[in-house]
């Protein structure tokens, strides 16, 4: 979503992005002229008249599980975003019985919070796990 019109979105997709992504952009390119949606999401920069790099993970109940906002010159890490979605999906699947420690990705051990785990995380998890 940006403040550009759908007509400019079409030109950007057809003229440039479709040369980088085969078949063009596979998801809707939303237009927020005036920044009204960006304002309620806290990402509209009134001085510059543009939206900053906000990224919101919204679960199937419509609840925001996480967000990140960057200033324009630095791009996002898509791998990290996908990792976070996978972690939220895992937690949801276990109905909160499992939690994903720092650096978790699918296949790595999760934690099962409860009285037995208090003070014992050091026995089941090492700081090495926080890194890829």
């Amino acid at each position: 979503m940006s403040i550009d019109s759908i007509f400019v979105h079409k030109m950007w997709n057809d003229y440039e992005l479709s040369k980088m992504v085969k078949g063009g952009i596979p998801f809707p390119m939303l237009s927020d002229a005036g920044g009204r949606v960006g304002t309620i999401y806290g990402v509209y920069d009134e001085d510059a008249g543009v939206e900053t790099r906000g990224r919101f993970i919204i679960d199937p109940d419509g609840v925001i599980q996480g967000y990140e906002v960057l200033t324009p010159p630095v791009g996002r890490n898509v791998t990290e975003t996908i990792r976070q979605i996978q972690a939220f999906q895992h937690v949801r699947k276990t109905k909160g019985a499992e939690a994903t420690p720092s650096g978790w990705r699918p296949g790595k051990p999760t934690l099962k919070p409860g009285p037995a785990l208090v003070g014992k995380v050091w026995e089941v998890w090492t700081t090495k796990e926080a890194f890829d």
């Binding site: 030109m11 809707p28 009204r36 949606v37 304002t39 919101f56 199937p60 324009p72």
Partner: protein, 83 residues
């Protein structure tokens, strides 16, 4: 899922769903403070409708139509910017 949009010469716009039209500026200012506090993890994402370009068509996208799915909502400064 999104419904197709008929476009004329006007530039289509969307906006928040369920927001009352504002009457005077002072009200608008207080309202703005309130809406800014709406974004918190664990809280509902504010609903909106926005026109979109999607696979060769112009459509209207409503966030709440995606209930039951995971949604990644990304904002960016502008088309043809570089990053």
């Amino acid at each position: 899922m999104p419904e197709e949009l008929k476009v004329g010469c006007a530039r289509p716009t969307g906006g928040p769903v369920g927001e009352e039209p504002k009457e005077d500026i002072s009200e608008q200012t207080t309202n703005k403070e309130e809406v800014k506090a709406m974004i918190k993890v664990g809280r509902k994402a504010p609903d909106f409708i926005a026109p979109a370009y999607y696979k060769g068509k112009f459509v209207n996208v409503k966030l709440s139509d995606y209930l039951g799915k995971w949604v990644l909502l990304c904002f960016y400064p502008g088309d043809f910017t570089f990053v």
